[in-house]
């Protein structure tokens, strides 16, 4: 009994230590030494720190401006809301800024949005840190997110992720050397029928060419193919990757409901 407890405690400690190590190594290598030590504070279940640390590509001196085309979109977005409730547009604006900025939000992009909607910057930071879809660190041109929620996990999402990481030679949330790919984790995206699945956010063509595609029914081999296709600049067919499946229908044709279903028992209405 006592030994069980002790073992359990040790396992917890080991787990914590391991996650700390993982976090520490997750830190992008071009950060200064002083920043690296903060890596250990980040938690395994959080995508990033809830703090801003100046880096060479993300600091208040790196300017951010919406392009004129996007400025039109900003105006369009804000026209949905009353003039004194412009802060309702924070999320769409963050999304727009993220697309324009190559998949992540720099500190100045958030400040710019705060300025546009007329709130204090901290109100924008709150939103950006709350939603895991907003990346506050640099991501690859193709940001690959693996679903890690139960159905996908049961259908092998761990293997998919491991394959991806091994194939790209990166850790989770790390960007490949060529800057093309990064792998992250997402919560359930509602494709449990076709689990396991990934999402590829494509920032290669700015806001206009932005796509956010699901790839479902993956196998380790198929996921590598998808990635390689992206690397070549192709657009692999999104949706289910199962050769015999159409959308979310059953593979290889129907297995049930082959004939006219038996009608429910019903009393003779005419007799009433």
């Amino acid at each position: 009994m006592l030994r069980q407890v002790a073992n359990r405690g040790l396992a917890v400690l080991r787990g914590a230590a391991a996650s700390q190590r993982a976090c520490a190594t997750r830190v992008v290598s071009d950060r200064p030494q002083q920043i690296q030590q903060f890596g250990v504070f980040s938690r395994e279940y959080s995508t990033a720190l809830n703090l801003h640390r100046n880096t060479s590509d993300n600091n208040p001196d790196v300017p951010f401006e919406f392009t004129s085309a996007n400025m039109e979109k900003v105006k369009e977005i804000l026209s949905h809301y009353p003039k004194n409730y412009k802060q309702s547009g924070i999320i769409p604006l963050l999304d727009l800024a993220q697309q324009q900025n190559g998949g992540w939000l720099s500190i100045n992009s958030m400040n710019k949005i705060a300025e546009i909607v007329g709130v204090a910057p901290i109100r924008v930071y709150e939103v950006a840190t709350f939603y895991s879809m907003f990346n506050r660190q640099k991501v690859g041109t193709y940001h690959v997110m693996v679903c890690g929620t139960t159905p996908c996990m049961l259908r092998g999402s761990r293997t998919i992720e491991a394959t991806l990481l091994k194939h790209l030679g990166v850790e989770r949330n790390e960007v490949t050397k060529d800057g093309k790919f990064s792998v992250g984790e997402m919560e359930c995206m509602g494709c449990c029928v076709n689990a396991p699945m990934i999402v590829v956010a494509d920032y290669s063509n700015g806001v206009e060419g932005y796509s956010y595609n699901y790839f479902e029914d993956l196998t380790p081999e198929r996921v590598v193919e998808v990635i390689e296709a992206y690397r070549k600049g192709e657009k692999p067919p999104h949706g289910t990757q199962h050769p015999e499946r159409l959308n979310c229908g059953p593979a290889g044709g129907l297995t049930t409901l082959l004939g006219e279903p038996k009608p429910p028992p019903c009393r003779d209405l005419a007799a009433c």
Partner: protein
């Protein structure tokens, strides 16, 4: 019924049935007594100096002799109908026609019309509450204390800690009482097993990530989480996973953060955005990773930032200057008054032995609610530095050397007699109490000197009508204004608590505020109309668009800063202000929107006591002064003081003027004396001594009294009650402690016309550095750190 401001259902005027003079003493005194020379206090001496048994009898006696005895009953109702102006209807406590449910233990009170009340049942007993109150407030009115973390009476409701769960009949689950409006007939249960179990569950979750560091936590002993875990906490946890750790934030030299202790109640976030008006703090991240922070490295720049320490229910935010110095249970607390500005915030001085360990705010809805400025809270370490602790005389070599009291006083008396009374002057400092000013005024008058003034008021102050130099709207009343013009004042630096009230008005009722004067971010929307008297003139002439805003407003107000007193065209500025007041109809029976904001604690009492130059005093040219008595006055530059003048410095800190002094008489600081102060709205309040004074220092009025004996003009009082009796003969309102004696404005026809012409001068800053304004804060290391940290922003 009295007219009411509908929105808040507060009467704006005292109802006509109940405002007979509040105190009526029985005997009518023989009123023909013309007091002889030097016996202005003859009436007081009779009972006052009896001393020993005098307690209440003395008070009653004085009252009986000086307060009239007529006007009770039939007369009373008549006189009120003829009451010729506004009386302090805005004071929150003086509300009539309100059903107040007051509970001894809680002291919770509310105001509402009887028809706006509903009845709910709390634990089986019925209570009447105002419509729209929450279940938690209903319980509070019933005298039941509901545990809570996120709910704070002065902040918006967040409803995220879930500690205040109660059971309401016919609801399937326990409900968060802070967020649920009470409905008529609701049956609330607060002590059922279900409630206890629910709260225990919440507590267990809260304690999951809360560290067990109470023994080294500064909040230990006065921690809401600690106290509530005594009732709802378990002695062991079921959580075996690793606890989380959170990076501490740097919020500046005042607030220490230990963010791992944070339970995410978000009170500090709400305080920062709703009260302080600095949008710096936020809730970052989500789920288990949620934390409070600033995201970017940023100090919290607010004059009220220290209050987040009080607001925090755990030890996540504690006071940096008093970190690890004392535990709450070893402190002796003394309820006193803050003197760092003219608002007179109610404070509690916590001391250990002879040392002040910290200062906390004390509830007073009418003055400071529950907030105090950072200067009030943290400048106490200045009380321990640079203290004058023995009398000193400048010897023949020009060195100051310690001497006995007798010798020092004798030297001063001799020097005073060597000069012509016309060449004498006395200045009372910013922190002087009314008693010492009274004594000094009497002494100087008896010596023939009429040249007296209080620092900040200047030599030309007009002390005639109280309504001309007070915040007539009252501090609490400023919340109800809907258009306000600031003239020559940096409100945020001059009176942070008043700024907060005005901010409330802007937030709650979208009041429009405009400012003429030095530009400063007041942390709310304020239109800056430039810094010159031209803008003032154009409003006064009705040309400026803001003049329309003011005249359209229901409760317009104007706040004139005391920097105006330093201007050469002071009268013209005030005349322009008067015409704005006139045009916007600011002075009505139910509202007085004219406010003059004083800067220092001593100013109002000084003006009330007539601590101003007498009719035939020489004014202006300082070079003729041969004998200068400085009672804690440090604002004079050495150039202002003639080289051949004999300077007496009586004070508690070796500040600027002490270096110039010929004689130094050590006095006591506000934490060491029982002194009367009047705040800028005219409310009389008293400090209580919390700690002993240092060295050989003496009460200020006692020093003056002793000096009078050496000078051969012995003052006729030798107890503090004696001085107060004398004050009663000069400014009787200073006798009404904790009360506000409203000042009645005179109609414009009764005011003399100004002959000076308005010059096109900018309004000057009066507060260069908020953190260092007086001798105490200038001696404080904490305030020096604040200056260094916040000066850039």
């Amino acid at each position: 019924m009295a007219p009411r401001c509908r929105r808040y259902s507060l009467p704006l005027r005292r109802s006509s049935t109940g405002s007979a003079p509040r105190r009526l003493a029985s005997p009518v005194v023989d009123s023909a007594s013309i007091c002889g020379a030097g016996s202005g206090v003859a009436a007081a001496e009779g009972s006052g100096s009896r001393g020993l048994h005098s307690g209440v009898a003395w008070y009653a006696g004085i009252r009986g002799q000086l307060y009239e005895g007529k006007g009770r009953g039939k007369d009373g109702s008549k006189q009120v109908s003829e009451s010729y102006k506004w009386s302090s209807g805005m004071s929150l406590g003086g509300v009539r026609h309100a059903r107040t449910a007051s509970v001894a233990a809680v002291g919770a009170k509310f105001t509402a019309n009887p028809e706006d009340c509903i009845e709910v049942s709390v634990d089986g007993s019925n209570v009447t509450i105002a419509k729209g109150m929450t279940v938690l407030q209903a319980c509070e009115v019933a005298g039941i204390d509901i545990p809570r973390f996120c709910y704070h009476p002065r902040l918006s409701i967040a409803g995220n800690c879930r500690m205040c769960l109660v059971e309401v009949e016919k609801t399937p689950k326990p409900v968060a009482s802070c967020a649920l409006p009470a409905m008529p007939g609701m049956k609330i249960k607060t002590n059922t097993p279900l409630v206890k179990k629910a709260r225990e569950g919440v507590m267990e979750f809260l304690l999951i990530n809360h560290p067990l560091d109470c023994p080294i936590c500064d909040q230990g002993g006065e921690c809401d989480l600690q106290d509530q875990s005594m009732v709802y906490g378990s002695d062991r946890g079921r959580f075996i996973e690793a606890k989380r750790g959170v990076v501490d934030k740097n919020l500046g030299p005042l607030v220490k953060t230990v963010m791992t202790r944070c339970i995410q109640c978000t009170r500090c976030v709400r305080f920062a955005s709703e009260i302080a008006g600095v949008q710096d703090l936020g809730v970052l991240g989500r789920g288990g990773a949620e934390e409070i922070g600033t995201y970017v490295e940023k100090l919290m720049v607010s004059e009220l930032s220290g209050n987040v320490i009080d607001v925090c229910p755990v030890g996540a935010l504690t006071a940096k200057p008093s970190a690890f110095t004392a535990r709450s249970w070893e402190l002796k607390s003394t309820e006193s008054i803050d003197v760092s500005d003219a608002v007179g915030a109610n404070i509690r001085i916590d001391s250990r032995g002879p040392e002040v360990m910290r200062i906390l705010p004390r509830l007073n809805e009418e003055v400071n609610e529950e907030w105090i400025s950072d200067k009030a809270r943290f400048s106490y370490d200045g009380l321990k530095r640079q203290r004058l602790n023995e009398p000193m005389i400048r010897n023949s070599e020009g060195q100051l050397e310690p001497v006995s009291w007798a010798k020092a006083l004798k030297t001063v008396a001799e020097a005073a007699h060597k000069v012509n009374p016309a060449e004498m002057a006395a200045i009372a400092g910013k922190l002087s109490d009314a008693e010492s000013m009274m004594a000094l005024k009497d002494l100087m008058n008896r010596l023939g000197c009429e040249r007296l003034w209080v620092e900040g008021n200047g030599e030309n102050a007009d002390a005639d009508l109280r309504s001309n130099y007070l915040v007539n709207t009252t501090i609490a009343g400023l919340e109800y204004t809907d258009a306000c013009l600031l003239v020559g004042t940096e409100l945020r630096h001059e009176a942070p608590l008043l700024n907060h009230r005005l901010r409330k008005a802007v937030r709650n009722s979208r009041a429009k505020v405009a400012s003429i004067g030095p530009e400063l971010d007041l942390h709310f929307k304020c239109e800056h109309l430039g810094n010159s008297s031209d803008a003032l003139l154009s409003i006064a002439q009705g040309k400026h668009p803001f003049a329309q805003v003011l005249s359209k407003a229901k409760f317009p107000s104007i706040i004139v800063g005391s920097g105006v007193l330093q201007r050469s065209d002071k009268d013209a500025v005030l005349a322009a202000v008067q015409s704005i007041v006139q045009q916007a109809n600011m002075i009505r029976d139910d509202w007085n929107g004219y406010n003059f904001l004083l800067l220092n604690a001593a100013q109002a009492a000084g003006l009330d006591l007539g601590f101003v130059p007498g009719a035939r005093a020489p004014v202006g040219d300082k070079s003729s002064i041969k004998f200068l008595y400085l009672m804690g006055a440090d604002d004079l530059t050495p150039e202002d003081i003639p080289a051949d003048a004999f300077v007496v410095y009586q004070g508690h800190h070796g500040d600027r003027s002490a270096y110039r002094a010929n004689v130094i008489l050590p006095g006591v600081a506000y934490s060491e004396k029982e002194g009367t102060y009047e705040n800028t709205e005219g409310r009389t309040q008293q400090t209580s001594p919390a700690v002993p004074t240092v060295g050989d220092a003496r009460d200020d009025w006692k020093i003056v009294r002793a000096l009078s004996e050496f000078a051969g003009v012995t003052l006729p009082y030798d107890t503090v009650n004696g001085v107060r009796a004398r004050m009663l003969a000069v400014a009787p309102n200073l006798f009404r402690v904790d009360e506000l004696e409203p000042a009645t404005p005179l109609p414009k026809e009764s005011l003399p016309e100004s002959k000076t012409k308005l010059e096109s001068l900018p309004f000057k800053k009066v507060v260069d550095n908020f953190y260092m304004t007086d001798a105490i804060s200038r001696a404080s290391k904490t305030m020096a750190q604040c200056t260094a940290a916040f000066s850039s922003s």
